[in-house]
Symmetry: none
DNA sequence: AATGAATGAGGTTTCATTCAT
DNA sequence: GATGAATGAAACCTCATTCAT
């Protein structure tokens, strides 16, 4: 039920999605949805929180599973979990990240909270990397800004991927790691063996 | 008039912005807007196209002005132009990039066209870089994907900047170049002198 | 069950009282009420008829018990029974007399029937009085109109009493008798010893 | 417009009256009503206040015009104004006095305010009478209670009149004066020449 | 050429009422 | 026989859009 509602939200956006259409798609009458969720906004909240929790859980699990490995492997594992979620829950990703940029809206706060957690998780990983390298985060402009750029690059690749779905999830992940971990300079000067990208 | 309308759109979002409020803010009556633009959607289009053209013009001009210099300087100049636009036209940036992630909506096509142009401009620069380095773009996963990641990182940093406006525009630009040009690995191993970020 | 429903009706009015609230207060599920009464309207009817019967019974009994006495004593006894009912069954009185004035509504007919019976009982008493006095009812404008005025004065005093509950029931009854039996003129000219009113 | 709305309210009651029906009857579309009044409740308020003001104005004017005359003439004039209003504004009277008894409702306060003013006006007249007679109001149970009974008798006669519209307005007024001013006792003992009632 | 006032269509929400269990 | 869950119909209200002035 939440899943079908999410499909409509993903296709139409919050405002354009009508409760009539959602109810019809779910296969129940509107009052069923209202007794279950209370209001259209609450339904939207519920879907966002569900999708956000799934995404975060997957990323946290991936980062912890790979704890034994090297630090860039953990970043890679987190990114892979992110793109896997995008691949398997396209509606959830669409709704989550479409509302992110919306200015007004009553959900702004909740949605940003989810993104903040993703950024925070990334930042934790980066902080570990920085510490392990004996580096000073401040010299790099702060790890939060780095995490923001990292996540933004991932989102952008995810959106591009959804419109060019030929690539495999490992290759998209490789592209993200290539640019953010190795950097264009290293890639171009051949100073590093890039992650595979299937091309 | 387009500017005032954009201010409302930026604050409220497309759906929540009412033609009444726009007309009042502009200081004319609604029929004036309708004879000028035809519909609410057309008004939105017009604003988006205007802001998008401004942004693109600024980026193109910056990239061309720095044509004499080294190639990463041209990337840096484009990024600087982008963040300068963000700083000076917050409403325009907010509207442009808020609608970018929206799945549905009648503007998807037009709005993505603008973003596609930004990505295309970035890709042109990257292609030049690749060519100059005697590198093969395909080995890197395609320069379009790289451009997508580059632009996405920029957007994300821009949004973060808007909520943490302490940094100067040069420092935000430095952060973007650090992660996308040098990469985290090089930054951490001290193999490169990072761009300044004010920290 | 009827009593609890009546409490809700008295507090909220017919439309604002929801079957959900009634069922919860009664402590059963809605279908129980529907099998017992058939519809919300029927439940309302049932409550009104029950309350109306109680009131009429009390008034009739009082008037008959005092049959031996003088005629104004019987009027007084009926009025006392009315105010006693108001005092002891506030919910019933509230529902009975709130729907009385409603123009539309599907209950108009049934509810007015109850009021008509109260007026009719009063008229019977007045007719006896007129006959005993050898008077002609028509000269007074018809005893039904007199009964209407008598009852209306009683209702109005009852409502006022509910909001100013200090007076004892005998005193409220006295006030009604004073104005309707003796009249303002007699009261003012001291031509009659008024009923006690506690002041 | 207010008049037509009042006709619907009088026929159906507040809840059963739909804005669709009102708009159709008025001959405009619903948004016209909403821009004029804001909400259904506001429309209802407006009608009630308009009708209430008309009624009060008429009664006050009548009582003042007859200031030269004897005191019971002023009471009579006020009552005549009341019944004249009932006769000429049946919808207004119906709405005013049907909402009076409603328990809940958001209008309770406003409507009771109007009735309170009617009672207050009556009480003022009674106080003058009492003073002129050198009488003590408290001995009679307080003039407010007397005014309540007086007004209630009038309302009741008015409702009865609406269903038995044969009588002329002067005769209905006479009936009210007969019972409240002279009293049943005086009427029956022939101690006073009753007001004419047309029978 | 500009406007105040009007509209049609549609959206969310509620509630009396009824099936399967 | 009682219930939890479901429904259909309708109500209020809003807003982009357009006439008549």
């Amino acid at each position: 039920m939440l899943r079908e509602a999410g499909a409509i939200f993903a296709k139409r956006g919050f405002h354009a999605a009508s409760m009539d259409e959602i109810a019809e798609r779910v296969g129940v009458s509107k009052p069923v949805i209202y007794t279950a969720f209370g209001s259209k906004e609450a339904l939207y909240f519920a879907y966002i929180e569900s999708a956000g929790a799934d995404l975060l859980d997957a990323m946290v699990a991936a980062a912890q599973l790979s704890r034994a490995g090297q630090v860039q492997e953990r970043l890679h594992a987190g990114a892979l979990a992110f793109f896997t979620f995008v691949d398997e829950h396209r509606d959830g990703y669409a709704v989550l990240f479409s509302e992110l940029a919306a200015r007004g809206g009553p959900f702004r706060r909740e949605v940003s909270a989810i993104r903040r957690q993703i950024v925070a998780l990334t930042k934790v990983l980066l902080d570990e990397v920085v510490e392990e390298a004996g580096e000073d985060g401040a010299r790099l402009g702060g790890t939060e800004a780095l995490a923001q750029a990292f996540v933004g690059a991932g989102e952008s690749l995810a959106n591009w991927w959804l419109e060019n779905p030929d690539a495999r999830v490992e290759d998209i992940t490789g592209r993200l790691m290539n640019i953010t971990w190795l950097g264009l300079d290293a890639l171009l000067r051949g100073r590093a063996a890039p992650w595979p990208t299937g091309q």
